[in-house]
Amino acid sequence: MADRADRLAQTFVDVADTLVADFDIVDFLTVLTMRCVELFDLAAAGLLLSDAADGVRVAASSNDRMQLLELFELQYDEGPCLDSFRTGRRVQCDDLSDASDRWPRFVPEARSAGYASVYALPLRLRQQVIGSLNLLGGLPRALDEPRLVEAQALADVATIGILQHRAAAEQRLLAQQLQYALQSRILVEQAKGILAEFAHVEMDEAFAALRRYAREHNERLVDVADALVERRLAAMTVIRRYSV
């Protein structure tokens, strides 16, 4: 009893650790599903995350046997995971043997794979549902209420980890875009200076000439600016056909 409590506590610590360090999200999710199987004496577990089209896709599973993966993939159209994702609520079936009209395609497949009960826990933070944790039992009633509460707590910590990871990735993307945009703007201003000096015109007119050249040659403004700054393109060429 104490040993299981230790293992559960250790799992929480390990999951929480990932919130601090840079971590591999796929590895993290896979380990989480494997820990669930171990801690809750399950037959298998999987984690499905929302895709771009309001459905789910398998992101991790406790083993990579084809049969298990296909069972998760089947749930893209129907099944406890999809219901859990859509409602943001726990969805469970303690005994798959009398549930065939609930999920007419999923249930027979799950049973023939040897699963007798299924529990889908939402990956949810307040109003945002990002997926579902799918727990499969080899026996009916594989999880009782206290165990389900523990499992939901693990799902909650996993949700925070995933959202943190996504937020960090978004920040990195914005940073790259910002740096690129800053350098582009600097190039354009330098190019304006080159043209303004060459043609002895104001910056506005230099900019107009730059834009006109880019339009006429079907090139991006920043590429024309870069060519001018790098002296691959002569100011004379850009100005020549632009009459003040």
């Binding site: 840079d22 960090a168 990735a169 920040q171 990195r172 914005l174 940073a175 790259q176 875009q177 910002l178 740096q179 690129y180 945009a181 800053l182 350098q183 582009s184 703007r185 600097i186 201003e189 330098q190 190019a191 304006k192 200076g193 080159i194 043209l195 303004a196 000096e197 060459f198 910056m203 991006r220 920043v222 700054v229 790098e230 002296r231 100011a235």
Partner: protein, 243 residues
């Protein structure tokens, strides 16, 4: 720092400027610096944005005296605590600038002291592994940062980074978001225009023209923005041509 004031500071930091580029109050970079001064209780705060190649791209400063000096010197000289913090990805803390080893920032230190700066603390601005610049805190009196100040400064570096990155959300591809795009001063637009003009005047590459401008600013002890403006309005040339 009572909650109401904290809330107002953040609200002010996050409100959009009304687009008039000439007023410093609207500059998101300036507002971020002012928020840092208020929250961290230091004399001045400056921001430098730098790309991975060390090319400075934008700046902000809470004032012209200390923070403005620090940012100006780092841009002109290419050295300083913020430059180091950005390059190494670690805070650079200098509580007594007057006692700095002569080999550290050989040009920056005397010039900063001359302007009255007595301490500087620089914190890297980062989005994960991507380094975007530094937050430079400065003051006219020496002395270390308190432990809580240091913790708060690390948090503010994160807040400032997020605020600056937020300007980019919703921007057109390849373009700056409008808050920075309209901020000619933060982008040092005239400096880059002047570099372009000089590269034509002297038949040199623009990066070399920029080095010339920086050298001219340092030698004449005038702000680089001023010299650049003289070039752009054609009161100053670097060749022998007529003005």
């Amino acid at each position: 720092m009572e909650i109401g004031r904290l809330g107002r500071l953040f609200a002010d930091l996050y409100r959009a400027g009304d687009g008039r580029e000439t007023r410093d109050r609207e500059s998101v970079a300036t507002r971020a610096c002012i928020a840092c001064v208020e929250l961290l209780e230091v004399g001045g705060a400056g921001i430098m944005l730098v790309d991975d190649d060390g090319r400075a791209s934008a700046f902000g400063a809470s004032d012209a005296v200390w923070a403005g000096t620090v940012e100006e010197l780092q841009f002109v000289l290419g050295e300083g605590p913020g430059v180091d913090a950005h390059q190494h990805g670690e805070p650079v803390l200098e509580p007594e600038l007057a006692r700095v080893d002569g080999r550290r920032w050989t040009a920056f230190t005397p010039a900063a002291l001359h302007a009255g700066v007595r301490r500087v603390f620089s914190f890297p601005l980062r989005a994960g592994a991507i380094r975007v610049g530094a937050l430079d805190l400065s003051d006219g009196v020496p002395g270390p940062l308190g432990r809580q100040q240091r913790i708060d400064a690390v948090v503010m570096a994160e807040v400032v980074t997020r605020r600056l990155l937020a300007t980019q959300a919703g921007a057109l591809p390849g373009r700056l978001g409008s808050e920075l795009d309209d901020d000619a001063r933060a982008l040092r637009v005239e400096v880059h225009q002047a570099a372009g003009m000089l590269s034509e005047q002297l038949d040199i590459r623009s990066p070399d023209a920029l080095v010339l401008l920086r050298a001219a600013a340092y030698a004449s002890e005038r702000p680089i923005d001023q010299i650049a403006h003289e070039v752009v309005v054609r009161r100053l040339r670097f060749d022998d041509g007529p003005v």
